[in-house]
């Protein structure tokens, strides 16, 4: 049903949220008998029965409010005319929704509403897509007998400050849907009703929308029943005529959207209410920041050049692919298969990623394939496989609504995973307790109606020590869940671990010197976590991007097992994945040591399965990781790299090292939307397609596989998987996929955890959470329910792993006395390739260095000053923001802008187990500066030269 474009119509709205109850209630509405769950509103019951009651303030994403007074009904035995939205059903209730009195009352209410509303409906941007217009039609309003000379708000000034939507108070009916959406759904509390009585008006706290606390999530716009809050694109283009359900390509939350179009022109992206990851919510990126897809920087023609100091030459697909294939073949002939490799993209679909790794393994003949998860969540893969037996988060997002205590460590969900953060905040407002472990005072620590019970502001790089100290408290104070451990975990390993954490050197008091977390706070936090019924742990890159990343993941898993918090709703270990499809890219066999479904390349049986299907022999030896490829390039043993949808020069650590590696290669093929930073070192540029231009699947952080659907024709003519297939064919491989669905069929055939997945099923069911196999035919919202995944030894019991705290070799000292840590901001995304090419830059024009007032003062730095940021590796300059969000001794910046090049500063220290770079800890010095660093100037010059495109002959 979802495959075909839908004719445009608003999504069904039942007026009030679904009630969940096992008790069913029978009632009659206008003589029709029906049965609904207890707690259902009369309004919803009527809508379910097919008879919608007129309404304005009610919408099923918000709690009933009862303000518009349009939905009045008569109920036998009840006096007056109760509002159907706020009246719950009762057994035997008899409701009448249409009587002469109700008709009169509704028309009277509507007449009042329209008496303070513009009358030029036909030229209104919401015409024919307006709930006020619909309601006026439903009640039969024909005239406003009060006349038009009375008091009104029709001269109120519009607020167009937000780049994506406008607020026109003249069209506002003060239903408070926007205010409630901001409060209940988003949890920002930016909006209010100012004034009272007739003067009541929606207000972003006395500011413009842009100047307010508004985070531009779009929830208010989605909730508005009129044109008062509306996307500017609707006013500019008009009402959409069709809608396609697809999945957002920004973060790992995986919000489902309705792309609404006229022809091939995208009018707006509206969060899809039936999306199970987002339930109709969105953030500023997915909702609004899609303009990059048509940005003038987009390259849609293939380009080649002999050497990287030459300008690019635009060519046809055949010439570009022929050029690339010839170079690859020549290098392979000269230096062997091991000189070739590829990088898959966690921005691309599962199908595309699978094809790239297949091209490397089956076409190039090496296992030199890696992916950007190397630099973000590779420790998650390692750590959860070691402890739980599989490399994935244990829960669905909905699980958070059953959590009683939530531990957020090394994650900043309100900026990096905003839609999940809104759900988390909903649960916190219901009373769940929060523990934040983060060197920085992230927004969750204190924001409207949310306050962390404990904020453990640890010294960057001491996650393992903090978690071990928590475990020490839990074990020594007898707070472990002995029953869970006995039933579900390996006893001997638990005992080894318990002995280890109990050692006095792991007490909070002993470790406080290292972690700088007061022992009392840590003990209280540990007790809180262990004492609640359901404890859930959410973590992000602040856990993984350390030299102890894998140890920290395992320490988290240990903590969850020790407290019995695995295998049901409300608990679990939840990695918040950075990229839209980083889970999928890992699942698809993007790592050099394993095939899809996390099966080691050395496993003969697995290899045989692929070899039979692909008709080639596979190398049993693990391939090179990204840093290894770059090292090998410098010693001449690695010479060609196909990079799909990743900008390693900007995103990987120690930019000088990356640049030197790339410069040493003979054939760098960049397959991307834009001439990114890496493309400066490329010989072949293959234009890519955006997520709006392709069909396939993404897998989000909760293992949910969702369809990405082609909304419009690719600007370059080909979907990315078609380009990879064309390159494979140019290399002589006989690939004949006629659709991405056929690729998914191959994935399902070769990957046990995807056995039951197909595009057909996803179209029918919306989404599936792997594993989808014989044991879990409908997928797995929560993993490890009855037991852990059986490992190669077939036991299926949780394994405690002793995680010794080995400090990083990166140390502060006299020359570099501060610790730099990095992160993201809400409006920008990663290296900013997309968001910088949208109006989102209005919120974040440049990367800033957060520094504590005492550190700023001692360096003579004031707010907005330019500073030089130097490490042992390199230096850059950027402006400072003086704030107490960071502790003394810690500085923080984002890495969204290439001009900043924060990774010039980061080191090549990395996680001991997976090589995931230590982005989160760099010893630095900050000093005043009056201009860009030499590197920044050289780099600007290099980029300008490298991006030259020769004029057409």
């Amino acid at each position: 049903m979802l495959t075909e474009p839908q004719p445009y119509a608003p999504q069904a709205d039942f007026g009030t949220p679904e009630a969940v109850s096992e008790t069913m209630v029978a009632l009659t509405i206008d003589g029709r008998r029906l049965t609904v769950p207890a707690g259902t509103s009369v309004m919803r019951a009527a809508a379910l029965a097919g008879g919608a009651i007129p309404r304005l303030c009610a919408t099923d994403s918000l709690a009933a409010f009862g303000s518009c007074r349009l939905c009045l009904v008569e109920i036998d035995g009840m006096k007056g005319t109760p509002a159907s939205c706020t009246t719950p059903v009762a057994e035997g209730m008899a409701v009448r929704t249409q009587t002469p009195r109700l008709q009169r009352l509704r028309r009277g209410v509507m007449e009042l509403t329209i008496s303070d509303h513009p009358l030029d409906c036909l030229t209104c941007s919401a015409s024919n897509d307006c709930e006020l217009q619909d309601a006026a039609a439903q009640v039969g309003l024909r005239d406003v007998r009060y006349g038009y000379a009375g008091a009104n708000h029709l001269d109120a000034a519009a607020d167009a400050s937000n780049p994506y939507f406008a607020f026109d108070p003249a069209k506002c009916i003060v239903c408070s849907r926007c205010v409630r959406a901001c409060d209940e759904v988003q949890g920002t509390f930016a909006l209010t009703i100012a004034g009272r009585g007739f003067d009541s008006q929606v207000s972003p706290g006395g500011e413009s929308f842009l100047g307010s606390e508004c985070v531009s999530c779009g929830a208010c716009v989605a909730a508005c029943p009129t044109a008062a809050l509306e996307e500017k694109s609707i006013a500019a283009i008009g009402k959409p005529e069709r809608a396609v359900i697809t999945t957002c390509a920004y973060c790992g939350v995986g919000c489902a959207f309705r792309a609404e179009l006229r022809g091939e022109q995208l009018v707006r992206m509206v969060p899809w209410k039936d999306g199970k990851a987002n339930h109709g919510h969105s953030c500023v990126k997915g909702r609004f920041a899609w303009g990059y897809a048509h940005h003038r920087d987009r390259i849609t023609t293939p380009m080649i050049r002999e050497r990287i100091d030459q300008p690019w030459r635009e060519v046809g697909w055949d010439e570009a692919l022929g050029f690339a294939a010839a170079r690859l073949k020549e290098i392979k002939a000269r230096h062997g298969a091991q000189a070739l490799g590829g990088i898959t993209s966690s921005r691309c679909t599962n199908e595309e990623t699978f094809l790239v790794q297949k091209l490397v393994r089956a076409g190039f003949g090496s296992n030199n394939v890696d992916t950007c998860a190397r630099v973000c969540h590779s420790p998650t893969g390692y750590g959860l496989k070691a402890t739980f037996g599989t490399s994935a988060g244990t829960q669905d997002f909905d699980s958070v609504m059953a959590a009683d205590v939530i531990l957020v460590i090394g994650a900043n969900p309100t900026d990096a995973h905003p839609v999940f953060a809104s759900r988390l905040k909903q649960r916190l407002r219901q009373g769940a307790k929060l523990i934040v472990v983060d060197p920085r005072r992230i927004d969750l620590v204190r924001s409207p109606h949310v306050a962390a019970a404990h904020h453990l502001a640890l010294q960057p790089g001491t996650n393992v020590a903090v978690l071990t100290a928590m475990a020490h408290v839990i074990v020594t104070e007898g707070l472990v869940d002995e029953g869970f451990i006995a039933a579900r975990c390996e006893r001997d390993e638990y005992q080894d671990w318990a002995r280890f954490v109990c050692e006095p050197r792991h007490s909070p008091e002993a470790l406080a010197a290292v972690t700088r977390v007061p022992a009392g706070d840590l003990r209280a936090a540990a007790r809180l976590f262990a004492s609640q019924r359901n404890g859930a742990i959410y973590y992000g890159l602040g856990v993984t991007e350390h030299s102890q990343g894998s140890s920290t993941v395992m320490a988290i898993a240990n903590l969850a097992m020790a407290t019995g918090n695995i295998g049901r709703a409300g608990v679990g270990v939840n990695p918040l994945r950075g990229q839209n499809n980083v889970q999928g890219a890992c699942d698809m066999g993007s790592f050099p040591h394993e095939l899809s479904g996390y099966r080691h390349i050395s496993d003969g049986a697995t290899r045989a399965l692929f070899e039979k299907d692909w008709g080639v022999a596979l190398d049993p030896d693990p391939g090179l990781r990204i840093p290894d490829m770059l090292d090998a390039a410098r010693d001449g043993s690695f010479r060609a790299l196909y990079i799909q949808g990743e900008d390693i020069l900007q995103s990987d650590p120690d930019t000088h090292h990356v640049a030197a590696g790339l410069a040493a290669m003979e054939c760098v093929i960049v397959h991307d939307l834009f001439l990114n930073e890496t493309a400066s070192y490329a010989h072949v540029f293959l234009p890519g397609s955006s997520f709006l231009e392709k069909t396939g699947t993404f897998t989000n952080a909760e293992r949910r596989i969702q369809m990405v659907r082609r909304v419009m024709t690719p600007a370059n003519g080909l979907e990315d998987w078609e380009v990879t297939q064309a390159l494979a064919r140019a290399l002589g491989l006989d690939w004949r996929y006629d659709s991405s669905a056929a690729i998914m069929d191959e994935i399902a055939r070769l990957t046990p955890s995807f056995a039951g997945v197909s595009h057909e099923r996803l179209d029918a069911e919306g989404s599936l959470q792997w594993p989808v196999d014989a044991a879990h035919p409908d997928g797995s919202p929560v993993m490890h329910v009855d037991g852990f995944v059986p490992g190669p030894n077939g036991k299926g019991r949780g394994k405690f792993v002793v995680t010794d705290y080995i400090p990083t070799d990166e140390r502060t000292g006299l020359r570099f006395p501060l610790l730099l840590t990095t992160g993201r901001i809400l409006s920008q995304y990663n290296v900013g390739a997309q968001t910088r090419r949208t109006d989102n830059s209005i919120w974040h024009e440049e990367d800033l260095l957060e520094i504590h007032p005492t550190d700023a003062e001692s360096r003579g730095l004031a707010e907005g000053d330019r500073a030089r940021l130097a490490s042992r590796t390199g230096e850059t300059t950027l402006r400072v923001h003086v704030t107490e969000r960071v502790a003394p001794g810690v500085v923080y910046t984002t890495f969204h802008h290439p001009a900043t090049q924060a990774n010039v500063v980061t080191t090549d220290y990395s996680d001991w187990a997976t090589n995931c770079p230590e982005y989160k800890v760099t010893a630095v010095q900050v000093t005043p500066s009056n201009g860009p660093s030499a590197w920044q100037e050289d780099y600007a010059d290099l980029t300008a030269r490298a991006r030259r495109i020769a004029p057409a002959a």
Partner: protein, 502 residues
């Protein structure tokens, strides 16, 4: 040395009680500041050995001390204004010093609470139900049923909230009680809290009552050991009439915009901070100590009229000769209240209308002065007794202007949440102006683009019909009583005095 007793009630002080007390002190008397008897036209009233003198000024001091004053009213307790009353809630009015724990204990204070604790929650609730006590804030909901609902709700925290946001025109009983007998309210709250299992109580007092706030705060401190584990806090409103509506009051207490909440959920189940909450008016809670005294419930239930049991502290105000607090069992007629007890208008002119129940109460013409003071009888007459305020108007009043005032009041006090009240009240003012002056041409409606608008002017009859329809929309469509009751004064004025509407 002579002891004189003078009230320190705000009304008495406004009439000069403080200067008078000073004058007696200078004259060498011991001055005791007591609560007010509630005979407003006699304030400041001086009591010497049970004899009353009022309204007194400093000039009267020598005469009063000599027993020769022309302000003498005889024995206060036998004054006919008091003799006709049956004071249960206001039993201590005029008789005790408000913040004297000794006076309170000496006048049966704390006996109700002691007995309540002895008989336990279930029996307390049973007695309150048996007494027939109904909410004195205006809605008349059975107080015992509300207690039972809160008592049966399962929740870790419960609250008792006293609504002391007394905003109705011509009402002052809550203020008099808080200023004159604060321990009675505290005892009542303690009884309610014990019945439902609440350990925190709030008194929400309007900001216009600074003396009541000060007395209540002082009394809460003094009574704290008596009522533990209950802890009572006094909170001051911010001047919004609508915050007297219980859900709006709860929002205000929570620090939110004073906006009405839709019901259900009832505050009894999801009230303050979402917890089960008893919200009752001052007079309801202050009636509890008597009801919980030995035999009190039966005594209370034995008084009254129809389903309105017990006594009602009626407040006589406006253009009336003898205004003040008049507590009697339900059933008394307006004729007796206004003409016999109140002595007619202060201006001496004929009574034209009486508004009962505050600014949203109906205007009642003398032809209906036989109406017994009773919730159901008033409801049947499209009127309400509300909080018991009776405001008298003489023959000079223009009832169309009073109707307009009702709409204007609603417009000024609307929280703005629901459409009928937010927009309807403003349209009501405009419409009543249009009825008064006649319709002017509407430039927009006259445009040919306005196909459905009538071509000619709208007539007065059309506008009266529209006013009646607007009143129906507000009455049945509004979220709370503010918009819902505004039609009472408007429609009663229109019905009984159509000639005033041109």
């Amino acid at each position: 040395m002579t002891t004189v007793r003078i009230s320190d009630d705000a009304l008495a002080r406004a009439c000069g009680a403080d200067a008078l007390a000073q004058a007696f002190a200078v004259a060498g008397c011991t001055v005791e500041r007591v609560s007010s008897w509630g005979m407003h036209w006699l304030e400041p009233l001086v009591e010497v050995d049970g004899l009353g003198f009022g309204p007194a000024t400093a000039a009267d001091v020598p005469g009063i001390l000599a027993g020769l004053s022309d302000k003498a009213i005889g024995r206060i307790g036998e004054h006919r204004f008091l003799a006709r009353q049956q004071r249960l809630t206001f039993a201590r009015a005029g008789r005790t010093r408000p913040l004297s724990l000794g006076d309170y204990a000496a006048t049966h204070g704390w006996e109700g609470l002691a007995r309540a604790r002895a008989i336990g929650p279930q029996a307390i609730i049973a007695e309150v139900i048996a007494s027939g006590l109904r909410g004195r804030g205006g809605a008349g909901f059975p107080a015992g049923i509300k207690l039972r609902t809160v008592a049966e709700a399962q929740a870790p925290r419960k609250f008792v909230v006293c609504n002391a946001d007394e905003g109705d025109s011509g009402t002052f009983a809550d203020r008099m009680l808080m200023e004159g007998d604060p321990f009675a309210l505290i005892e009542g709250m303690a009884i309610a809290a014990h019945a439902v299992g609440a350990e925190a109580g709030y008194v929400y007092v309007r900001s216009e009552y600074p003396h009541a706030v000060a007395k209540m705060r002082a009394a809460c401190t003094l009574a704290a050991p008596r009522i533990a584990p209950l802890h009572i806090e006094v909170r001051v409103g911010a001047g919004a009439y609508v915050c007297g509506e219980e859900t709006s009051l709860l929002n205000s207490l929570e620090g939110k915009r004073g906006e009405v909440r839709a019901k259900p959920p009832l505050p009894a189940l999801a009230g303050l901070f979402g917890c089960p909450t008893v919200v009752n008016n001052v007079l309801t809670l202050a009636a509890l100590p008597h009801i919980l005294s030995e035999g009190g419930a039966a005594h209370y239930a034995g008084l009254g009229h129809g389903r309105s049991r017990g006594t009602m502290p009626i407040q006589l105000a406006g253009n009336i000769r003898h205004g003040g607090l008049f507590e009697v069992p339900f059933g008394i007629t307006l004729d007796e209240l206004v003409n016999t007890i109140g002595g007619g208008t202060a201006s001496g002119r004929a009574v034209k209308a009486v508004q009962v129940g505050g600014p949203l109460g109906a205007y009642i013409p003398p032809s209906r002065f036989d109406l017994p003071f009773d919730y159901e009888a008033y409801a049947a007459a499209d009127a309400l007794i509300g909080h018991g305020g009776v405001v008298v108007f003489d023959e000079r009043v223009d009832m169309a202007r009073m109707a307009r005032f009702a709409m204007e009041f609603c417009a000024a006090e609307s929280c703005g949440k629901c459409t009928p009240c937010r927009i309807g009240s403003t349209r009501g003012v405009e419409l009543l102006d249009r009825i008064a002056t006649g319709a002017a041409p509407d430039a927009l409606a006259a445009l040919p683009q306005m196909r459905n608008a009538p071509r000619g002017l709208r007539g007065r009859a059309d506008d009266i019909a529209l006013l009646e329809e607007l009143c129906e929309t507000m009455q049945y469509g509004s979220l709370c009583a503010l918009g819902g009751f505004t039609p009472f004064p408007v429609l009663s004025a229109l019905r009984h005095w159509p000639q005033d509407f041109g």
